[in-house]
């Protein structure tokens, strides 16, 4: 387990549009994330989830507040915080193995060592036999596996994922959710995962942080056993979480008390 706690302190972030209107993407967000935690950031689209994640990655300047990782304030992107995007970010001009090796190459690891580690992670994501394929020869789901292998192989203790499975079909998404949980259980890296899908959050997270209009409105622990199959997700505790989240998203059915538990 890698010991780099994340501390987000009073972070605000606003953008000025070309038209001159100022949009507050994040308002006074404070959050502590312990090493090895799997946190899902949940909320409607445009309510600050991605902005918070990009701020964590160091890809987005803050208007005020600060973010520290292991006590040190972050300044820009770093190899300790790997990111998986919703877009297809596997480099199409590199074969699978070269892609997976890229993080270690950036850190100056010797070729033999990074090749061994790449082989290990390619196998861990179930892509045995595809090390020398071009990304164009793989399906969208397989390319996501490459992206996951790349970020794990880079050795980053903190993994940031911005709706990585958003563009995939239902079955592929479930496969990849299981893969991710499996890798997380084995490595216990810290994972911050942005999604707008309550079910996905219930399958993955130890903790669900709900964002609404750029503020943290709830922070729910999820104490369900893994694997979170449909029976686990039908337990009263899971339903209670779903109802609470729906209420925050403004989707609770009228006439019924939302927080039953």
């Amino acid at each position: 387990m890698s010991g780099l706690p994340i501390r987000i302190e009073h972070v605000s972030c606003s953008f000025t549009h070309a038209s001159g209107t100022v949009v507050d993407a994040l308002t006074d967000v404070s959050l502590d994330i312990a090493p090895g935690e799997f946190v899902c950031l949940l909320g409607r689209s445009g309510h600050g989830k991605s902005t918070l994640l990009r701020s964590l990655a160091g890809l987005n300047p803050l208007t005020s507040g600060r973010i520290t990782v292991g006590g040190a304030a972050i300044e820009g992107p770093s190899a300790e915080r790997g990111m998986v995007f919703q877009e297809d970010t596997v480099f199409p001009w590199m074969r699978v193995q070269e892609n997976v090796e890229f993080g270690q190459r950036a850190q100056g690891q010797p070729p033999v060592k990074r090749a061994l580690s790449a082989r290990h992670w390619i196998s861990a994501v179930g892509l045995d036999g595809f090390a020398h394929s071009w990304p164009k020869e793989l399906s969208g789901g397989m390319r996501k596996r490459v992206a996951i292998a790349t970020v794990f192989a880079s050795g980053a203790p903190i993994l940031l994922m911005d709706e990585p499975f958003g563009s995939l079909d239902y079955v592929t998404r479930m496969d990849l959710q299981n893969l991710l949980i499996d890798l997380w259980t084995r490595t216990r890296r810290t994972i911050v995962f942005v999604t707008h899908d309550i079910e996905e959050a219930l399958v993955l997270a130890q903790r669900i942080v709900v964002l609404d209009r750029g503020r943290v409105v709830d922070d729910l622990p999820v104490r369900l056993a893994q694997p979170r199959d449909e029976e686990v997700r039908a337990q009263p505790e899971a339903l209670a979480i779903t109802k609470t989240v729906l209420r925050h998203l403004g989707l609770a059915r009228p006439g019924r008390p939302a927080a039953a538990a």
């Binding site: 160091g58 820009g76 992107p77 770093s78 190899a79 480099f91 890229f102 071009w134």
Partner: protein, 288 residues
């Protein structure tokens, strides 16, 4: 070969019919008062008297007789003269292209580093692009003399501007998330340039390559028309002095052959370097 013939018989027939039409035209057109120069030279004239006449341009008393010094005209001398001047022109084109590509792409990548530098060059670059290339020949020859070096620099300038603009646009248009992914994997700026930005813009750069091939040939022939006293473009001017229409057609055919050949070579290089590219995915594929 059989399959190729079956797939392309329409194009082949068209070329054949055009060549035939030229031949018929050659025999129908009135001959000019100068008996040496038919207005539309038919093929047997181009590859007969015109071809052997090229030996007039062989000036070295070695390998073949020199007609200028009273020697006989020979086909071998003609081929030597064509080969010598072709080699000079090919050297100028390839050196100019290589130099222009290197400087254009390099400068484009350096300027792309920041928004400020990009804005700085935007307007001057636009003005330079609008300046007709051929108008610059006299100036280049005034600066550098009517030499090999001058022709190379002129070609390099002509194609360099295209590569420069192409690189700037390609970098500006490439998906940001590739760079961001590399950054979050801890890549240095240098590694990002070398392993992410350069390969990402390669498809667009190859569009510039195909664009500049034609441009480079025009530029070098232009430079040879106007001043440089050698090369295959100069041969046309020599032929024009005596209204040798057959020789003009012959040289033009050679130029066409060379530029087609350079295109084929570039295409096979592009196919190898861009092997990773998905076929037809919304993006313009320079290979198709």
């Amino acid at each position: 070969m059989g399959a190729w013939l079956r797939n392309n018989w329409i194009s082949i027939t068209t070329v054949f019919v055009l060549a035939l039409a030229w031949e018929i035209g050659g025999h129908l057109a009135p001959t000019s008062p100068l008996r040496e120069a038919p207005i539309v030279p038919p093929w047997e004239y181009v590859f007969g008297p015109a071809l052997i006449g090229m030996s007039d341009y062989w000036k070295i008393q070695l390998f073949a007789p020199v007609p200028e010094l009273g020697g006989a005209r020979t086909y071998f001398g003609a081929l030597l003269a064509m080969g010598y001047h072709s080699a000079l022109t090919l050297f100028r084109v390839s050196a100019g292209l290589a130099l222009g590509a290197l400087i254009g792409v390099g400068l484009g990548l350096v300027i792309s580093v920041s928004e400020v530098t990009r804005r700085m060059v935007a307007t001057p670059l636009h003005i330079i692009r609008m300046c007709p290339l051929l108008a610059m020949i006299p100036l280049f020859q005034f600066w550098l003399g009517a030499t090999n070096w001058s022709a190379i620099c002129y070609v390099a300038y002509g194609v360099g501007v295209v590569y420069f603009v192409g690189t700037l646009n390609a970098v500006a248009n490439m998906p940001r998330h590739y760079i961001e992914t590399a950054q979050t994997l801890g890549a240095s700026q240098l590694l990002i340039y070398w392993r992410v930005i350069l390969p990402a813009i390669m498809p667009e750069l190859f569009s510039s390559v195909f664009l500049t091939l034609g441009l480079a040939w025009s530029a070098v022939i232009g430079a040879e028309y106007v001043g440089v006293e050698s090369g295959i473009g100069r041969m046309i001017i020599w032929a024009e002095f005596f209204s040798h229409t057959g020789r003009m057609v012959l040289v033009t055919i050679f130029i066409m052959l060379y530029s087609t050949l350079s295109w084929v070579v570039m295409r096979s290089i592009a196919m190898r370097i861009l092997a990773w590219m998905p076929k037809a995915h919304g993006q313009i594929n320079p290979l198709s």
